[in-house]
Subunit: 82 residues, 2 copies
């Protein structure tokens, strides 16, 4: 069966996100002052061939742990869609 | 009221995503061959001070249209959380 995975990788809350900070300041110069706490991460979509949702999630987790995310600076969340 | 927005910005389906392609090939060399169609985009979280969910969404949309996404190459999706 084919599954689709939505992976969100964000910088850890404890860390400064300079890219987000820069975007926030630019938005303020555009008079969008109501926007705060901008944080920028990655969104990855992929399809997985697996026998079950659990197997698809395991493969996806392996991909994250082995390659996609940096545990020192980031956190990740996986959503598997049928 | 404070609202949290989750914005996902992805490369258009019609376009090649070289970053995703490179990641997919690297995953295959790590024996994760079940993974296909890798596409990499951005995930942005931000908080918005607004009087209603509709107003928060309008501000968020303005930020996307004015700055965060490139209509030639990308598509975006906004989720506003209470």
């Amino acid at each position: 069966m084919m599954f689709t995975a939505q992976i969100t990788i964000m910088p850890l809350k404890e860390l400064l996100d300079p890219q987000g900070k820069a975007v926030q300041e630019s938005l303020h110069t555009m008079h969008l002052d109501s926007i705060q706490d901008v944080r920028i991460g990655k969104h990855i979509t992929l399809t997985i061939e697996a026998n079950s949702k659990e197997e698809a999630e395991a493969h996806c987790k392996a991909a994250c742990e082995k390659m996609l995310y940096n545990p020192v600076m980031e956190t990740y969340k996986i959503i598997i869609e049928g």
